[in-house]
Amino acid sequence: MRYAETRMNDTDVIQPLNGRPPYEPGDADAFYAHVGTGGKVEADDWMTDDYRAAVLKFVEMHANSELMGVLPERDWIMRAPTLRRKLALTSKIQDEVGHAQLLYRVAEDLGKPRATMLADLLAGKTKFHNVFHYPTRSWADVGIIAWLVDAAAIVSQQALRDSSYAPYARTMRKICWEESVHVMHGRDVVLTMMSGTDAQRAMVQEALDRWWGPLMQMHGPPTDPAKDKDLHWGIKAKGNEQLRQEFLSIYVPRIREIGLRIPDPALRLDETTARWVYTEPDWDELRSVVTGHGPASQSRLEFRRVNYAATQWVRDAIMGNAAAA
């Protein structure tokens, strides 16, 4: 008798801590009913191939984004202007790499080896978030990225703490806490510059002007909830437009409060609907950027490819792959 058959019929078998899910392995309808009503899925629970593929794609893109998100800030580790900023930025970027590590582990458990994920990223086969396809130009970018890009990310990530895929949800709880520290660091960088010289204030405004478009695109175009399977299956808990509205509700007042001007004359809160109205983000730009045609997409991937190739001998030496050569 095969092990799987034994286990199915044996009530004495040791159960995982979370208990057996309330659906029979192989019953796709019951599975979708479970995740569609707030049920959770563990890595070793049975799941449909479509669900597994959708979670993997979602988590892999998130992991890629954390890893690629290191590069825009990386140059500024060397240029941080005080000891305190240097420590904070080094720590922030270490967190991002740590998040990539945690997320790749979640993805690995879904069946795709890390080496394959890295190879696909380098080959441009998989995506990473739009904001990491743009160059950084000044120290003010460090502040705007840590404050607003991370804040926009937190809005998404907080919703992901309720993801139907439980290992991802748990990982998000840790990540959200660290991201909130980044936001404080970013806000402090921005506030210090806004309290400084006219030239410093102009630097921050120029950075915001450049980053606002990508920030508005970051959560993606509004989707039809009925057709958004990530939403339907509870992989993510909130729709794109809802996330953008939440971001605007919290951050538009904070951005204005410190004397910055948001570069969208149409941006306003519609009091009757309690929704933010804004100039339609450039969705063509978003599509173009995330498919590798952003201003820094190829240079960042090439930088990573060159360095990955240059360190291949280390991985070979450790894995013993080169021993036979």
């Binding site: 890893l67 590069l71 240029r79 005080t82 080094t90 970027i93 790499v97 740590g98 990573r304 360190t311």
Partner: protein, 254 residues
């Protein structure tokens, strides 16, 4: 601190500056691996080590700032490149992983010997700080020791790279123990409980038995008289980077 004689205070300032600059500069070079280390786990580890080093540099610069009535950031970021006092071992960028492991091994072991001495300093604040730094540096040593062995015992390619880097860096590594201005006074007052030559002897007896089986016979080269003043194009580049924002606007705070 005010109870120190001026000559001794000046000698202590030299010691603090040399040690702080060592930690500051290696903390910068370590960050070269951020985002591109051979493995994600090593990326996290290298960033963590870099933070420790910069944290140590900050504590030492602050002690120096108190001693000389200056500002720690101004000391760290406000000097011309020829005024830095790190050992020539730290003039080099990280280059490849074997070079980084070799340099880090040479530096961490030398730093460990120096810190062990400073933990017994008659200057109590320095003794306390050194004791605190040693606790973190212990982990750096374990980390780099594991990598040294891994490369030495791994594939021939890694072993050759490591051996070449150790041989190349060996003369510069001696400069961690380059003589300091006012060293005699520091040793006499036990602010530095042992002389640099004595510390170097202790270091050599510790690392030679480990490194010579990897790199072959390592020559007996004395520290260079300009071991803490010799600067390179690589350091000039690094200095240009880390002062870029700090110097961009006079009087601005960041």
């Amino acid at each position: 601190m005010s109870d120190l004689q001026p000559a001794l205070a000046q000698a202590l300032a030299e010691l603090l500056l040399a040690t702080a600059d060592d930690e500051f500069v290696i903390g910068f070079w370590d960050s070269e691996w951020t985002g591109i280390a051979p493995m994600i786990e090593e990326d996290v580890a290298t960033s963590s080590i870099a933070q420790d080093e910069i944290g140590h540099a900050r504590a030492l610069y602050e002690m120096l700032a108190t001693l000389t009535d200056a500002d720690a950031d101004a000391i760290a970021f406000g000097r011309e490149s020829d005024a830095y006092r790190h050992a020539s071992l730290l003039n080099h960028p990280c280059r490849d992983w074997a070079f980084s492991v070799a340099r880090r091994y040479l530096y961490e072991t030398a730093d460990a010997v120096r810190l062990a001495a400073l933990a017994g300093s008659a200057h109590e604040p320095l003794a306390q700080l050194a004791a605190k730094m040693r606790r973190e540096e212990t982990y750096h040593l374990l980390h780099v020791d594991a990598w040294l062995r891994r490369l030495a015992e791994g594939a021939p390619d890694g072993r050759q790279r490591l051996a070449a880097a150790l041989s190349e860096l060996w003369p510069d590594a001696q400069d961690v123990f380059a003589p300091l201005a006012g060293e005699a006074a520091l040793v006499a007052e036990r602010v530095l409980p042992e002389s640099m030559p004595a510390l170097r002897a202790a270091w050599l007896s510790r690392v030679r038995p480990i490194l010579e089986p990897i790199a072959g016979a390592l020559p007996d080269v004395a520290p260079s008289p300009n071991g803490r003043t010799r600067r390179t194009e690589d350091f000039a580049w690094l200095h240009g980077e880390f002062t870029l924002v700090a110097r961009s606007q006079a009087g601005a705070t960041w």
